[in-house]
Structures are given as structure tokens and as C-alpha cells.
Symmetry: C2
Subunit: 473 residues, 2 copies
């Protein structure tokens, strides 16, 4: 990679360990056709949606069962070979990159919904099941799983990155919605981290320790999730605003009033233009909030009226309603396609995605200054946000071979994160640390807390084989 010196520190530190021949032989003996060393397969498993590229893993194991995972990890432990869990490859921070070499375990074939407990509002799935597949499986019971990061990510991957997305403002994140896990430890042993009870004080919260650990503390092989009754009524609306500030102040007031809004997304005018071009939507090309309300018909009406009043106070206009499932799907598909719409607006580009999250009272301060900086930079960008949670994403669109664009994008991100941390926020609301935010994590959490994380990692994975080189150096 050719990058100027001043962003060198932002690039992955690559130090791939040698793979013992005996290990590869043992792996192939155990897994046969479930193990591939074909370059195309390895390359597909050695990248994600981040801008980084490093040489791929030495092999890919397609696990079909917890026993497969346990055996693969045990072999890796025996030979001290790194192992990187792979879901669908939609992570954004370099989580899947084999910076220290090793193998990838593809969990895509572990895609069974193991049990639906409709009466308890829980479902237990294998890690390769995607969020859409969960919803397909449970909708017949009148239930749904709300966590929606946009991509049709695997539940294993969403658990590992503590994902959230559009519905988190009402339903919480993977942190709140994972009940219990089955995990393969660094020694290849299988443990369970909890029961299906809704709450428990039984010892350390191993579930929450694993949620968001990015594959560095164990490989997740089974997940029990909370479900919710499909709302009796759902209504979505778009509302245009004369300025980003007007939209943001509307959101702040809605949240502070405790309106149980289910989704509350900001899309800036430039991104609306990209979405229109990509999805042929004909939305008004102004800054907008895209909202959704869940509840009884009366409660949805009440929520919507409250929000309309607040929006009107801030100059919001052109409330447009989408009450049929088809209309709603069209709107949310457009929102989810914002990333791809943006990428296609500049052929050959990649997006450097930001992920700051701040307390809601600081949202305007954080967002508006960062918009001004992005505008001044001259880089094209998209801006979308789960603003009800104080979380938003810029995607700076860069030519990956243009070192100057990259530098400008990274510089904007540094300024944004610095601002968010000063406002008592976090460098990552939902994407995780991966390779890209290690420095920011240190700034945010402090050396003592990162040292505690490192101590935990060393204790649970003394040979550093589980997705090494991620979260902290």
C-alpha cells in the first residue's frame, strides 16, 4: 500500500505468523471438503467493508456444527494459529482481516433456527442465521426481532460487534437483546453464558462480556435472542426540514419528552439526492427525518401527533405518511441502501465510515460542526444517523488509491471523534473498534481501562489466537 507517512499509523499493522505444515495437514484431515485453501475463497474471507486490505487467511473452514468449531479452535490452539470467525462479511472496521495470519472459520452453514419459544418471546439460533432469516422464521408467530443494522448481517456477527441500527432507539442494541450464548473458548471448550430467564444475578455477566468482543474472547456458536410482539399498528413518516439543525433539535425534544418512537433517522439533503438517484424514489431533496411509530392504533396516533407538533415548531413540513407495509418497505429499503447509493455516486470509491455517538443534548454541537468541516473539505460524503440515540455516520467517499483523499477523510474522522469524546460520547456507537479505532479507544477509555481489557484477553486467550490484533494492540 502506498500511503503518505502521516496516515501510516492508521494502517493495519500486519505481522502474519507462519502456519505450520502439520497444522494444515491436520485441518484438512479433520475437515476434508469443509476446508478450502483456494485463493478466491481465502480472499473472500480476508476482507470486509472497510478500506483496508491485507493478505488473506491461510485457509477457510466451513463449520457445520459447534463440534466443528470446537475442533477447529482446538487445532488452532494446539498449533498457536490465529482463528477469525466469519459471518457474512459485512463488518466495517477490518474485523475480518488476517493481520496476524491464521485461518477463517465461516459460520454461514450454521444457519438453523434451533427453537422458537413464542410464549416466552425468545428464539435460539445458530450464528450464521441472518437477521432477515430470524424475522422470516418468527413472523408466523406474530413476533419480530428488532435489531436492524441495515445490512442483512449474521446474528453471530451482530452479537460480536454489539450491533444496533434503526430500531435501537426503542428496543435497545444487541447488548440488551441477547439473552444467552453458547461459546467455544480459546481452548476449544464449549460453555454456555446464561439461561433463557429474562433476568439473572448469577455471577459475572459472561453474555455481555462476549457481546461486542469482536471474536477476540471466544467463537459464538449459539445465540438466544429476545423477540417482541409485532406491533398492532405501525406507521412511518418522512418530514423535511429547512436545516440539519432544525431536524436535530426536533429529535432532541422528541427523546427528551419520552416519546417511545421506534425509529428516528436523519438523512441529509445530499444523501437524499444519492438515494433518489439510486432507488428512483422521488423524495424531496431536503434534510429529512425518517421515523416509525409502533403501538396500538391509538398510541401510534398519539405519538405521531406529538412529533408532528414538535417538528412544526422547528419548521418541519411535508409530513408524508407510509402506513402500508409496501410503502414502509420502500422507505426503509431506501434508507438501508444509502450506503450503496453513495458508493455508486462516485464510481470506484470506498467509504471511510464514522460512527460517533453522543448524549442527545450534545447531538447538535457534535453534528453541526462536523458537517461544516466535511463541507469545507471538498470530499463528497453521505450523512445518515440513528439520531434518536445520538449516533450518526458520515461516509467520506474516497478513491482508495488517492492518498490525499484518504488523509483528508481520516483527518475529518479524527476531528469528529475528538469532538465526540469531549462531549462525553464514544468513538463507536455500533460498528466496533476492529483495526481502525484502536487509538480512539485508548483516547476514550483511558489506558487503565484498555489495560483491563488486555488483561481479560490475556486471561481468556493466553496464546492470543482469537482474532488477534483487533480492539487493542
Amino acid at each position: 500500500m502506498n500511503a503518505p507517512a502521516d496516515i501510516q499509523h492508521l494502517l493495519p499493522q500486519v505481522d502474519q505468523r507462519p502456519i505450520p505444515e502439520a497444522f494444515l495437514a491436520a485441518l484438512q484431515q479433520r475437515f476434508g471438503a469443509q476446508c478450502s485453501t483456494a485463493l478466491a475463497v481465502r480472499e473472500q474471507h480476508g476482507r470486509d467493508e472497510s478500506v483496508f486490505s491485507v493478505p488473506p487467511p491461510a485457509a477457510v473452514v466451513f463449520a457445520g456444527s459447534t463440534q466443528d468449531v470446537a475442533d477447529a479452535v482446538a487445532l488452532c490452539a494446539q498449533h498457536r494459529v490465529p482463528v477469525i470467525p466469519f459471518g457474512v462479511g459485512s463488518s466495517l472496521e477490518g474485523h475480518l482481516l488476517a493481520v496476524q495470519g491464521g485461518i477463517s472459520i465461516d459460520l454461514g452453514r450454521m444457519n438453523r433456527v434451533l427453537s422458537i419459544n413464542a410464549e416466552d418471546l425468545t428464539v435460539t439460533v445458530q450464528p450464521g442465521v441472518t437477521r432477515k432469516a430470524v424475522n422470516e422464521a418468527v413472523k408466523g408467530e406474530g413476533l419480530f426481532f428488532p435489531i436492524d443494522p441495515g445490512a442483512d448481517a449474521s446474528i453471530g456477527g451482530m452479537t460480536a460487534t454489539r450491533a444496533s441500527g434503526t430500531n435501537a432507539v426503542r428496543y435497545g442494541t444487541m447488548r440488551e437483546n441477547v439473552l444467552a450464548l453458547e461459546v467455544v473458548t480459546a481452548r476449544g471448550e464449549v460453555i454456555r453464558t446464561g439461561t433463557r430467564a429474562k433476568k439473572s444475578s448469577a455471577g459475572y455477566d459472561l453474555t455481555r462480556l462476549m457481546v461486542g468482543s469482536e471474536g477476540t474472547l471466544g467463537v459464538i456458536t449459539e445465540i438466544s435472542l429476545k423477540l417482541y410482539p409485532l406491533p398492532e399498528a405501525i406507521s412511518a413518516a418522512v418530514c423535511s426540514f429547512p436545516s440539519i439543525a432544525a431536524a436535530v433539535h426536533t429529535v432532541i425534544q422528541v427523546i427528551q419528552l419520552g416519546v417511545p418512537i421506534a425509529r428516528c433517522e436523519l438523512i441529509d439533503a445530499g444523501t437524499v439526492r444519492m438515494v433518489n438517484a439510486h432507488s428512483k424514489l422521488g423524495l424531496r431533496e431536503e434534510h429529512m427525518l425518517l421515523m416509525e411509530f409502533h403501538g396500538s392504533p391509538a398510541s401510534v396516533k398519539e405519538q405521531a401527533e406529538t412529533v408532528q407538533e414538535i417538528a412544526a415548531d422547528h419548521g418541519g413540513n411535508a409530513f408524508e405518511w407510509a402506513t402500508t407495509p409496501e410503502e414502509r418497505t420502500r422507505l426503509w429499503t431506501a434508507r438501508h441502501n444509502a450506503y450503496f447509493a453513495a458508493i455508486q455516486s462516485k464510481p470506484g470509491c470506498r467509504a471511510v465510515s464514522t460512527d460517533t455517538c453522543v448524549p442527545i443534548s450534545r447531538l447538535a454541537d457534535c453534528l453541526l460542526d462536523s458537517v461544516a468541516e466535511a463541507d469545507a473539505s471538498g470530499l463528497p460524503y453521505f450523512l445518515v444517523g440513528h439520531v434518536g440515540d445520538g449516533n450518526f455516520h458520515f461516509g467520506y467517499l474516497i478513491d482508495p488509491d488517492n492518498a490525499e483523499e484518504r488523509r483528508v477523510a481520516e483527518d475529518l474522522n479524527v476531528k469528529l471523534v475528538t469532538r465526540a469524546l469531549a462531549l462525553e460520547g464514544t468513538c463507536t456507537g455500533e460498528h466496533g473498534v476492529g483495526l481502525h479505532k484502536m487509538g480512539f479507544l485508548l483516547d476514550e477509555a483511558g489506558a487503565g481501562a484498555v489495560d483491563m481489557m488486555r488483561t481479560l484477553k490475556r486471561a481468556l486467550d493466553p496464546d492470543n489466537i482469537l482474532n488477534p490484533g483487533k480492539i487493542f494492540s
Copy 2:
């Protein structure tokens, strides 16, 4: 203690380490009048609401600041002396007992509300602030903190035991409502575990690791909590049922329908009698649900109507409403006093409290068989439950000097926990493991998971000075 052999294994393993003279001298030099070795003070800090008694700690330090805590822990670390954090002493599982000797750190003087961020619905407090004091401090802002374990516990203690209580069915437990912590580590260093952002994927979830760690991984010195807008309308109701089964099946259906009920408590007829005698309430002496609804006036009305219909289908009758704050306070005070009402019903008794929690569909199976066993035993008991969460408590009333009663109570608890675990539940929904449930934790979590907990403990507290002898042996 004189106990027959067959409950010997349930008694605390006491092995108090010798306290170096140099340590006590250093402690007194640093803390002066903030340090007491008076027997009465030590005894007050060496017990809780459990049935156990062991010799008290060697000294009590009254910490006034994080620096005090850090210095005390650093001295303990230097001399390898155990240190047990103390809030108000309302824990139930022997958490505060100095089974391995050492000192108590009383955090009661750290009782300042540090900042109220009304716009963000957060508050940051010192650990000695009680839940009632939090609510007193924030009500002027139109906000409240919902977690309510009954006792006016300290926020530090509630965090350390992952407490919950009556409002958890709607608002979650301490797990969901702690945003971030300041913690003094086993080396006496101060770290922060998070920011005030509502969500974050920034590395391992140290906050959740500390929540529920019962003082064994760090001493909590500052807590940021989520707050909620005071509901526009609140309505409480009691409803009588012809049987416990009828009440429980009502609850199951309410939860499965997704009614956002704020509180949903079961009190059995016998306990209602005790409460009437204690609080002069004149409640109908039948099995009852005590419920509360929060929301807009329209939403509260809608919820209440739905629940009334379901209750009627199960033979529930005599819905009585309490809409004024005074009436509600009277009802909830009665509920919270159930424990004391029961204790007073048998002079000199102590309660052996159970704390199982099961998936809601298993609630009837778990509860009804256990009621039958308790009735057959001849021991008096109280029965109350946060049944909306599948969590309930028997309190078997025993003469602490009567070994046979103790054996019977422990035997009932063993049967109950065994049943709850078979039904995919937990041995402790909200009280914690402490001394009393170590064996149950092993049954519930399995040796592999408990071994992982022990590995974490060893990593963060290699000299085993932080509340040693709790959670696991």
C-alpha cells in the same frame, strides 16, 4: 454454629486471614477518625439480611471520596488484606460477611448526586446514594429512576448485585440502566468503564462485567444511570384471584401480549394476611396481583382495560384502583413491607429467601409445584413475586437456632432451584450468588463457565483481596 451434618455444606466456609499489625497502623495513620475498630461498628458491617453470621471484619473505613477508596484498596493490596465494600447492608446472600477476614469499606458517606443531565435523561451519583435519594434529587426535573428492589438500597450495592425489583418488567434491571462506572481496581487504580453515550461498541463491556460482580472485581465509586420522564399518567390496581394459578396465567398472557405493564407483582393470600396485620391495610385476603400502568392517560386506560379483560377471563375480580399518589404509595409501601410483615409474624425468626427466575411460559410449572412443597413442609412462609419477569421469592420463616427448620427451608430451596434450572431458569434473578448460591451457580452455569469466571477474577485480582470467598469457591 451448631448445625447438623447435612446442612454443614451450606454454611459459610470461614477462613479469616491474619491482619498484619503494620497494615492496621498504616490504615489508622491514613484514615484517622475515618477508620474504626470498635466492635459494634465492625459487627454492624459484618452482617447483612442473610441468615449467616461469621466474625466481623477487623476494621471499617468510612470513605469520603474515590481517593479514600483508592488509598484503602492500595493498602489492602500491599498487605494482601481482603476488602469488602459496604452500602447500606441490605443484601440477602451473605455478600458482606468477612469470611476471609479483612476490612469493610463503608461508602455511605459518598452520598452526593454529582450531576443531573436532565436533557439526556442521565444522572451520575456516588455509590452511597440510595435509590430514594436519587428519585428525590431528580423529581424536580420531571424524571425518575425506576429500579426498585424494595429496600432503600444504595446505588453502589444495587449495581454490585445487578438488582432489579418491581419496575424491571418494563424498565429492565441495573444491567440495562447503568451507563458507566468509575471503579477502583484491585491495585487501587481508578478507571472509567464507559461514557454517557446511550450505546457504544468501544471494546469489552467493562460496565456490564462490573454490574453484578458483587465487589469481587473492583470497588464502584461512581455510577451514571439512565433516567426516565415521569409518566404523564400512573395508575395502580389490585385484583384478587381464586387461585395462584389463575393469577399466574393472567400474568403470562399479559406479558405474551406485549402489554407494557410497569409493575406486576404477585402476593399470595397468606402474605396478604401478614401485610394486613403489619400495615393495617384491609386488603382482601386472597391471592392478588398488584399492578401499575405508566403512560399517557389514553395509553394507561388502554393497558388497564386489556389487563382487566384478561384477568376476568381467569376469574379475577374486585379490581381496585389507586390513582392518587397517596393511595399508590400506601399499596407499594405495603408490598415493600411484605418482608418485614412476614418477619414480624413469627417473633425472632429469620427468612431464608429464594430468588428463582424462569421463562414466563414456565412460571406456573415452577411456582405451583413449589407452593405445594412449601405447604406440605409445615414451615410458615411468605410468597411475593415480580411475576411479570418470571421471578418470585419464597421466604421460609425459620427460627435461626432451630437446625431442623433450617434444614427444611434449605431443602425446599434446593428443590425449587432444581426445578427452576430444569425449566431453563436461573437460581437468582436479582439477589446475587454471595455465599449461599455457589453450588447452585455451578449447577446452573456449568463448570466451564464458572471456570471462566474464576479465570477473570484471578486476572483482575490476582491476590484475591476483593470480597474473597463469594460467587465461587
